[in-house]
Symmetry: C2
Subunit: 271 residues, 2 copies
């Protein structure tokens, strides 16, 4: 099995790639993990220009020799290649899994909207850098390479689901790149935001015409919360219940996804 | 003429209200400027609970004794009263102007979408606190009280226009509260954001199905920019041209609106 690694947003260090590659070689010897050189390019904020990142993604996506794309890292920028890459995906791109999260939600969402391949919310190669990061990335590799369900979010329960970073989902709302999530349990997670902004993003989610038909909401990890001045008086659980109530859908509790070691795999649709 | 001041987001200090009121009394003696006591309430982040803020807004909006509503201050929170207030606006609410900006864009947008009254992007009472803040708020009072066009954004040029804080517009995209801005020149401004986020919000704007028919984009003040790490290489002008190009509309240059002393008045529609 061959997995290609590309970086549609920010670059990774070679040392991080080497660590992820070394772990994969030992724990999943049947996988050929290929880091595209684009992962290490740098142009300002990005892992190469929009054109360079789009070309690398298209090259691996359209190559029948690759069974999956694993995103190297998030950051910001995968939205900037959607217009270039989405119309150019060919038949081999339809037979692949695409695994990542955070900013990669732009691509996962657009792929799911276009019914291309199998988008998967999952830890990325750069997550090897976390404490016990080997366990974290093993969830992705186990699922992609062996169909190992141990790394799946534990309570998917056979229902269709999708998971997004809340800010990325918010940025997709109102655009044609947002997939139809009717009857899906929608899991959102957030990092490095003050709670008033989380509340504002939940307003958009709860009022989004495109999301009216979802089955329910779950909340992943919300961490590195930026201090609110004055302090935000409401709990996250109360916020979720309030906005889910406005939306007319049930709040179904917490989920083990997010910007954390505990991040689990959520294949879009039914796992 | 009577103008009611309410605070659908955060509270104002009594001293700020007194300063704005004193200036109005001297410069516009024909106006009766009435600060609703709700402006001074405080509940955590907000100027009173959602119910309290909604009730104050509805009370003044539906009172035929008031000719206009002037918002006291932005912050965060006016989105949280839309569901309560919008269906309860009565005939007197349709004959009023509503003046404010920043977070108040939620209300201005929803009012414009519902064709209720005359929403106006304009400096707020709390802007008296700026250096030369008397000049700033005089633009709003001059327009509301005397139809004085000197405070209008100088290049509206008789075309329909609307002005929004970019983050607020972004939060409205995809919801039924976003007005139809077909054939409008859309002016956006931003404060206290890193440029990667400005870029991400412009992505949403440029890809928003609801905004396809706008006449063009203008950029107001972008200030207190949060440092980007690594530095953002692209100029704001270039970003605007790129996203306007994706949108297929012209970028029409800068506008004198935003979180600054120079903020000017933009009546929604044709001034």
């Amino acid at each position: 099995m061959r997995i290609g690694v590309v970086a549609p947003a920010r670059p990774v260090d070679r040392i991080v790639a080497a660590r992820a590659g070394a772990f994969a070689a030992i724990a999943y010897p049947e996988v050929d993990l290929v880091f595209h050189p684009q992962c290490f390019e740098s142009e300002g904020h990005f892992a190469g220009s929009d054109a360079v990142r789009a070309a690398a993604f298209l090259q691996v996506a359209n190559d029948p020799a690759y069974d999956a794309i694993w995103f190297a890292r998030g950051g910001y920028g995968s939205n900037r290649i959607l217009r270039e890459v989405m119309p150019r995906l060919e038949e081999p791109a339809r037979r692949k899994a695409y695994a990542g999260f955070s900013d990669m939600g732009f691509l996962l969402g657009a792929l799911y909207a276009a019914r291309v391949g199998r988008p998967v919310h999952a830890p990325m190669a750069s997550d090897i850098n976390r404490a016990k990061g080997d366990e974290t990335i093993a969830r992705t590799l186990g699922w992609l390479v062996r169909g190992d369900r141990q790394g799946l979010e534990p309570e998917l329960g056979g229902r269709p689901a999708a998971a997004f970073n809340l800010a990325i989902l918010d940025a997709l709302v109102g655009t044609p790149w947002l997939p139809d999530l009717a009857d899906h349990v929608l899991i959102v997670e957030e990092v490095s935001e003050p709670l008033y902004r989380v509340d504002r993003m939940l307003f958009t989610l709860a009022n989004a015409t495109q999301l009216k038909g979802i089955a329910g909401l779950r909340l992943g990890v919300v961490n590195d919360v930026v201090e609110n001045d004055p302090p935000w008086a409401e709990s996250l659980e109360s916020m979720m219940r309030r906005w889910a109530g406005d939306m007319g859908v049930p709040y179904l509790g917490r989920a083990r996804v997010g910007h954390a070691q505990d991040n689990h795999v959520v294949p879009f649709g039914i796992a």
